[in-house]
């Protein structure tokens, strides 16, 4: 069945806004989630600041450059939580057989999964992460031109897609690992820790791992390298859209295989 992008966007908006309305009913939770995300990020930022107050740079990367990477990871996490939180609910959807109702509706399953919930912590992440990114960009000398702006947009969009696709792929583990909670996707999520710093500080194996297998490097390190003109790395920026396509492909393939395995829950 052909389904137009316009209709997908419309349905996404309808499902999302309804969830948002429902969220508002738990207002304490709403603010605590935002607050928790803000606190986590501020402490992370303080951590960087404390380190850089003792040393001038890490392998040639200045404070604001690393802060930019740090914040990029947080913003992508925020986008994932705020707009695509449903990926994190797949365990529940699969284990309690709630996917059944998604499968009997004439709407792509992945769209319905995305809209299963909203993580308000994402808003906190986006606000603080965004602020840090803007501060970084104002502290770092970049010659803004049509080309750099275009590049920035491509890098940003690719980064967000890569992050969400990784979330989706990791959470597809729910189809295979039934009784371990969210432990596996959280482990994959934590791989993002590696992308908060210049990846040159890691061994070659790790570098390849987070650039190719679980390409978190394209969420933070590559955009940073490309934007700040770190020679010998910045060319990787051009691969970002390709990596995004690759991640989506893998995630959707895993979902498809998973759905074939899906057994629903008893009767």
């Amino acid at each position: 069945m052909k389904i137009s992008p316009r209709r997908i966007l419309y349905l996404y908006w309808r499902l999302f806004s309804q969830q948002l309305k429902a969220m508002m009913e738990y207002s304490a939770d709403f603010y605590i989630m935002i607050g928790a995300a803000v606190m986590t990020q501020v402490t992370g930022f303080l951590f960087l600041w404390v380190i850089f107050s003792r040393i001038p740079d890490i392998q040639g990367w200045q404070f604001w450059e690393v802060a930019f990477m740090y914040a990029a990871i947080y913003v992508s996490e925020g986008v994932g939580s705020l707009f695509f939180e449903g990926t994190w609910r797949m365990l529940r959807l699969v284990n309690l057989g709630e996917l059944d109702r998604y499968l009997v509706r004439p709407v792509p399953v992945v769209l319905q999964i995305f809209c299963t919930g909203i993580g308000m912590n994402g808003l906190g992440n986006i606000i603080i992460g965004g602020t840090i990114i803007i501060m970084s960009l104002s502290h770092i000398h970049i010659v803004w031109s049509l080309q750099t702006v275009g590049m920035a947009i491509i890098l940003f969009v690719s980064a967000m897609i890569i992050r969400v696709a990784i979330n989706l792929a990791a959470n597809c583990s729910a189809f295979w690992i039934r009784n371990s909670g969210n432990a596996f996707p959280i482990m994959i999520h934590n791989l993002g820790e590696f992308a908060k710093y210049p990846i040159t500080i890691f061994s070659l194996g790790l570098q390849l791992f987070i650039s190719i297998v679980v390409p978190f490097a394209f969420v933070s390190f590559v955009p940073a390298a490309a934007m700040f003109g770190k020679e010998s790395w910045s060319y990787l920026g051009w691969f970002s859209p390709l990596v995004a396509v690759y991640c989506c492909g893998v995630a959707l393939l895993l979902l498809r295989i998973g759905l074939r395995r899906y057994e629903s829950a008893g009767n």
Binding site: D100, R105, P106, N267
Partner: protein
């Protein structure tokens, strides 16, 4: 309008072969060959774990069969999931279609968009459903606040909102009180009558079957063990009748009056033993008639009152489940009415 629809290529569901289930190579459903015509209302019954839900989930595109063929109105549900989904409605008794935290009215409006129901149809259906299912009082509540009966009614409305051609109802009346059950049955009948909706329903409730379904499919251990008219299975397996009589005076050795008839037994239940004025006799209605029995008793004494019990369908199905029925009789029955 509906008659024309009947001439369209009917809904054909041929489910065959092996369907895997968890862990071992244990098949939830095996060798099921079933075809349902458009506009039919079919009861699909069997004990827990017989494979009813599995069948429905495969028909609705939720589960992918490990083998065999399924076609629903020409579509293969798990391959053409979206096309299939657009024309079916499903109620899975224990689970809700509705969004947990948003008002029922909004859930239904959301479903309108998901199924692309025209505004006019939506309004008309909402009016009709609200009235028949008496939903007015809880449309503004979120699903988490509904009672089971309310939720079930709202779920039925959700499943039928887009006038689906086919509706799967998995235990639609489970755990509900009589009044709500009746309302739900009335609604299902009404939709089948006015929309020509094809219905396949699983249930443990015999009232549902008797009230709604002409055709009965019984499965056990993943196989169909009966497929035919409800009336046929009653004729076939409900041959026995029990007649309970109130007598004006006690009679001794009443059994001697029936020696020439086969398959006539005195019921030795508690009531007839304690009270010499009450008498219960069980007989095969294909061997003799109720009036014959009563007449012979009346030759001995006056019968003040009597009533005839037919075995409940529950009883029959239970006997089928327990494998007490002669399987050759069953298979001939199912062939006869197929």
């Amino acid at each position: 309008m509906f008659r024309q629809a009947v001439k369209d290529p009917g809904l054909a569901g041929a489910v065959k072969h092996l369907f895997t289930q968890r862990y071992k190579d244990k098949y939830a459903v095996e060798g099921i060959d079933l075809t349902i015509e458009e506009g039919e209302t079919v009861a699909y019954v069997g004990p827990n774990g017989a494979g009813k839900s599995t069948t429905i989930k495969m028909l609705s595109g939720v589960l992918v069969p490990s083998g065999g063929e399924i076609r629903v109105d020409g579509l293969i549900p798990y391959k053409q999931r979206m096309e299939n989904a657009a024309q079916i409605g499903a109620v899975f008794g224990q689970r809700t279609q509705l969004w947990w935290d948003i008002p029922v009215r909004e859930s239904l409006a959301l479903l309108k968009d998901i199924y692309q129901v025209p505004a006019y149809t939506f309004k008309r259906n909402m009016d009709v459903f609200t009235e028949i299912l008496e939903m007015e009082s809880f449309l503004h509540l979120s699903a988490r606040k509904l009672s089971l009966g309310q939720r079930m009614r709202a779920d039925l409305a959700a499943a039928l909102l887009h006038n689906p051609k086919i509706v799967y109802l998995d235990e639609p009346t489970i755990g509900l009180d009589i009044a709500v059950k009746q309302r739900i049955r009335d609604f299902i009948k009404e939709m089948n009558r006015t929309q020509g909706t094809t219905m396949l329903l699983t249930t443990h409730d015999l009232g549902d079957i008797e009230d709604l379904c002409e055709r009965l499919v019984i499965i056990d251990h993943g196989r169909i063990i009966y497929d035919g008219k409800l009336q046929d299975v009653k004729d076939m397996f409900a041959r026995e009748r029990t007649i309970h009589m109130q007598l004006s005076s006690p009679v001794t050795d009443i059994y001697s009056s029936f020696l020439d008839l086969s398959d006539v037994h005195l019921e030795k239940d508690e009531a007839s033993q304690l009270n010499p004025l009450s008498l219960s006799i069980r007989f095969d209605r294909f061997n003799c008639t109720a009036s014959e029995i009563v007449k012979r008793v009346m030759n001995r004494t006056e019968v003040i009152d009597f009533r005839i019990d037919e075995p409940s369908i529950e009883h029959i199905i239970r006997r089928v489940y327990e494998g007490k029925m002669d399987s050759s009789v069953l298979s001939s029955a199912s062939r006869g009415s197929a």
